[in-house]
Amino acid sequence: MASTPSGTHGGMADFNIHHGFIEALIRGMRSSFLADSDYHHITQCETLEDVKLNMSETDYADAVSDLTVLTPSGLQSAAINKLVTEFKYVRTQAVEPLATFLDFITYEYMIENIMLLLKGALSGRDINELLAQCHPLGMFKESTMRSIPTFEANAKGFADLYQTVLVDTPVGPYFAMFLQESSNAMGGEVRNVIEEVEIEIIKSSLIKYWIEDFYQYVQKLGGETAEIMGDILMVRADTNAINITLNSFGTPLNEPVMRTSDRKRLYPAVGHLYPAGTHMLADVSTEEELGKVLDLFPQYTSIWSVHAAEAEMSIDDAFYERDVQALELAFESQMHFGCFYAYVKLKEQEIRNLVWITECILQAQKDEINKFVPVFSSHAPWRSSTKAR
């Protein structure tokens, strides 16, 4: 597994010795989020040129000034690069155990990049194209990444690939566990596993191991971090479990045979739904049954009712709202690492919002343009109304 942290990060008394400066950095960066007024201005724009003008007054001024013509995808890459620069800056200042914590955040993107490279290699794509499409937060050494598609696409090739390349990457252990479990279940070789199992299922399994690993690490850190991050990760695990179940209806994953063998293995072993809920979820085959299972868990009934109502919002929007609420809360208290994770995730949400708004303007769908979840907004439903969510 990952390297053990050198002790906990200290509580109220000694947190600031090692991590005070960095936490201050993060809190400073927190003010760079777009405010309600910014969102208001941007949604009122008629063309993307106006958007560029408005963006140059926000924290994104430098990122946007490099783009001659603003396109949704261009804006997305510029914004992601800005996030990566900020993240790397924070990472270089960090000491243990914060350094490991930050690395954990990047593992998620590494998993995605590896899957992309592997799948691309199987289909015979050009390595440079694949590299260009990798998420910048999840890059490892260039040499490692380049060597992934050069391995032959046969059984020996994959075994070699694993032993030489993947084992060195931080996410190697997750791969090992996944392959072990799969070959036990399927009795097949490494190559068969990668070919037969769909890329999304492999990724979901790897993410599951990542969540579990992260959770354990966070519990080891103890203190406020364990509490706050633990809660965030549990919600993440539950979101994954519910989504997997919901989206597996109508795919081969929903067949009774597959349900117990494959789908059940995708549910993380952390979360409010674990273990009783996931056990019940494994048997669910229709949306009704899913609804009944979720009724037993009060925090998810409201989300499920959004999906069942099938009105303006979809269940993904409801989950995004729930996430943003939890992540904003991470900034409310001090002396823990949760704000770092929250910063990355909330920035991601902001980038999603920006892409959504620019696409709506581009495709002239003005009535849908307000369907995003603003970050740190004073109009948030949990802030302005007295009803608790």
Partner: protein, 238 residues
């Protein structure tokens, strides 16, 4: 015109040609009319399909935006995966009034999409709706492509047919008609010539008859042996 000898046989031949040309002309005209009707139908269908395409396109691409909001960038994942066509286009031939028009029909190859669990950890429903909307859009596209190729082919066929109709109408049939008129005229003239010659000959004959009658009536006592001349015969030698 001068090459055609004005005989009765040629008259029959050219009468036959004229009949053939006229019946051909009638048939071609019917074909041109049928093609024109089909042409107008196709034009109407194309206009309809194009109109609905624009709204289909916007919904399809907007559903893609929604899916990307919910599920992140999955375009690369789809593009980097194995691409086998799920819907294929078959080219068939439709026969309209004798014109062979190309027609495209979509058919499912039945190969299950490689990316069925694409939105597994979020946005799955949106991705399914993207798939549906784009399938609808694709079917409209195939229909429009089929209509447009048929339209172009039909247009060409119509032009050719119209050209043939006009050619028959304005060139061939008048030409044959002219030849027939010429033959008629020549034959008439020949007949008239013959007639006048006959008349002349008859006249002459009558004159001769009349003379003979006169001489017969006048010289009854003429010596019939006067006509006989012994010098005419050759000597008989025993």
């Amino acid at each position: 015109m001068s090459e055609v000898p004005p005989t009765r046989m040629n008259q029959q031949v050219f009468k036959g040609k004229k009949k053939a040309a006229e019946s051909g002309h009638k048939l071609l005209k019917k074909k041109a009319d049928a093609l024109k009707v089909k042409f107008r139908d196709y034009a109407k269908m194309i206009a309809e399909t194009k109109g609905s395409m624009s709204s289909d396109a916007t919904t399809a691409f907007f559903s893609l935006t929604q899916a990307e909001y919910a599920a992140g960038n999955f375009k690369q994942k789809v593009a980097e995966g194995t691409l086998t066509a799920r819907v294929r286009v078959g080219a068939g031939i439709d026969n309209v009034a004798g014109v062979k028009l190309p027609v495209f029909t979509p058919y499912e190859t039945g190969s299950i999409a490689d990316n069925q669990s694409l939105g597994l950890v979020g946005g799955g429903k949106k991705i399914v709706s993207v798939r549906d909307k784009f399938t609808v859009f694709l079917h409209q596209l195939i229909k429009l492509a089929s209509l447009q190729t048929s339209f172009v082919t039909l247009d060409e066929a119509m032009k050719v047919t119209n050209r043939r109709v006009n050619a028959l109408e304005n060139v061939t049939i008048p030409k044959i008609q002219n030849i027939l008129d010429y033959i008629d005229r020549e034959l008439d003239e020949l007949e008239r010539e013959d007639f006048t010659r006959l008349k002349l000959v008859q006249g002459k004959k009558e004159d001769v008859e009349a003379d003979k009658e006169n001489t017969n009536a006048n010289g009854k006592d003429t010596d019939i042996t006067a006509d006989f001349d012994a010098q005419d015969d050759a000597d008989v030698v025993f």
